[in-house]
């Protein structure tokens, strides 16, 4: 993309992009650590995940302030406007991903207090890996303004949703087999639910990237429809 006549506007937008990627990096690490903490019942790591939250919140507020300033001072249009609007929405999704990572960390602490659950760890590991890849890819897609890569993330979310349903069926059998384990198994269920929600947020971010790059609003749209609209654009 050509530079703006105003170099300061370029710097403002570049700073915005860097700040989103930095915040994304912090949240991504939070997710990696929270899944690892629950898999390995690592209380120290889980507590570390909780301690990062303030940093994520601070970054969200700063990004919102910067977006507000750009809107007020630059009155951006077209791709610049879409950039600022997408960033405000992406920041919100990133912050919520951080919240979900916190919930996973809290479940890890609960499991370290109550003793391990009888099963479900494999699902956490598997879904956790899928979602981590989604988060990684969606941040890459943003860094490269790559709508096709964002579409891949939306596709991956469908797979995560399927895995979540299958994991739930498996976990219900643990509860039926040993009702005494229900309390501990519930912690696994909540953690899986949070992982699934992180996938949803990654998909939201993917949709914001498609809007940013192509100007297409693909919210509330199936992956198939997104593909068709991208092919037409």
């Amino acid at each position: 993309m050509e530079r703006h006549i105003s170099q300061r506007f370029d710097s403002d937008l570049e700073a915005l992009k860097s700040q989103v990627l930095e915040m994304g990096g912090v949240v991504e690490q939070q997710i990696i650590d929270s899944v690892k903490a629950i898999e390995s019942v690592d209380r120290t790591l889980a507590e570390h995940v909780l301690s990062v939250e303030d940093d994520v919140d601070r970054r969200e507020v700063l990004l919102d302030e910067n977006c507000t300033m750009i809107l007020a001072c630059r009155q951006p249009a077209a791709s610049d406007l879409r950039m600022v609007l997408s960033v405000t929405k992406m920041t919100r999704d990133l912050e919520r991903m951080g919240d979900e990572a916190q919930k996973i960390a809290q479940m890890a602490i609960a499991l370290s207090d109550d003793g391990a659950a009888p099963g479900g760890y494999e699902s956490i590991r598997h879904m956790g890996a899928l979602v981590q890849k989604m988060v990684n890819s969606v941040l890459d897609a943003f860094a490269r303004f790559d709508a096709d890569k964002a579409l891949d993330v939306a596709r991956a979310d469908t797979q995560v949703d399927r895995e979540y349903q299958s994991a739930m069926r498996e976990i219900v059998t643990y509860m039926m087999e040993d009702p005494r384990s229900i309390g501990r198994v519930m912690n696994i269920i909540w953690a899986l639910r949070s992982i699934e929600r992180i996938g949803d947020h990654a998909r939201n971010i993917a949709e914001h990237i498609i809007y940013l790059v192509k100007g297409l609003d693909v919210r509330h749209t199936s992956v198939h429809e997104i593909e068709m609209r991208l092919n037409k654009s």
Partner: protein
């Protein structure tokens, strides 16, 4: 921090991609992007070429302006948007070295027809200029002049009615009703411009052309004129040239982008300002070239 975290993406050499601004690919000779033609056209311009001596200022522009729409024309200085606007009521006739080719129709009649008298044409297609230019007469006379010379009134009471109605439609009546016989030049800039608009609409035009009507006004006067444009578009067709992209975005239904005498893109204003189709439009409205 893991090796694949977001921090590292900051240094990714691929990150500066996005939609390219490829002037060769989006060559200026290409067909206009968007829909220039309409079946609801009040004015139609076909293959317009305008020359000042040997210099061509407008290159083969075709564009329809719909009934009761506000059409904004934007583009960098010297892109031909004001020249284009002035072709719509033959104001370019007053420039000796200006030559106009092509067809401009108003309700399907070619306004460049030899038999066309420009005086009634300019009553049907009025114009408001950048700088307010009231006559050095009273407020009343400024508005009454047009209807009088065009023979639109036979009685004084009728003229009074037109003056009041025009001033009301220009949102000026309440401010001047007690001093109608004071000089029009004694009004503030914003009031003078609204007086010029009242003068234009007093002869009951069908189309109002506005050539940067707010560029000499403060934000409050500008807001009043913009509000007025929205009201006027209920009854008139408006074509406005503006350097303020925010103004074009606020007041118009469709926006046409001109560049170096060519019509590059014409589209719904919402589309132009959120997701323009042509890279040149994008570059201009995002401030990427001067």
């Amino acid at each position: 921090m893991s090796s694949n975290s977001g921090y590292n993406r900051l240094f990714d050499p691929m990150q500066e991609t996005g939609r390219p601004l490829d002037f060769a690919q989006h060559g200026l000779g290409n067909k206009t992007v968007g829909n220039s033609f309409s079946d609801k056209a009040k004015m139609s311009v076909r293959n317009l070429n305008v020359y000042y001596d040997d210099k061509q200022a407008i290159h083969d522009v075709s564009l329809d302006i719909n009934r009761n729409e506000v059409m904004a024309m934007i583009g960098p200085s010297g892109c031909g948007k004001s020249t284009f606007l002035r072709c719509l009521n033959r104001m370019n006739d007053t420039i000796d070295n200006c030559k106009v080719e092509g067809e401009v129709t108003l309700d399907e009649h070619n306004i460049y027809d030899r038999k066309q008298d420009v005086v009634p044409l300019r009553a049907r297609v009025g114009i408001v200029f950048q700088k307010p230019n009231p006559f050095p007469k009273s407020i009343y006379e400024n508005v009454a002049y047009g209807p009088r010379v065009h023979g639109l009134v036979s009685r004084r009471a009728q003229l009074d009615e037109i003056v009041e109605d025009s001033l009301r439609r220009a949102s000026l009546w309440d401010e001047v009703k007690d001093r109608l016989f004071s000089s029009g030049t004694g009004l503030s800039g914003g009031q003078q411009q609204r007086l010029c608009i009242a003068r234009t609409i007093a002869v009951n035009p069908e189309v109002i052309l506005m050539d940067e009507p707010c560029s000499a006004l403060d934000p409050i006067a500008t807001a009043r004129i913009e509000e007025l444009m929205a009201d006027l578009s209920q009854n008139f067709t408006i074509a406005i040239v503006t350097h303020s992209m925010q103004q074009a975005a606020r007041v118009s239904n469709r926006t046409a982008y001109f560049h170096m005498g060519r019509l590059i893109e014409v589209n719904d204003t919402r589309r132009v300002f959120t997701n323009p189709e042509h890279a040149l439009t994008e570059a201009y409205i995002t401030g990427r070239f001067g």
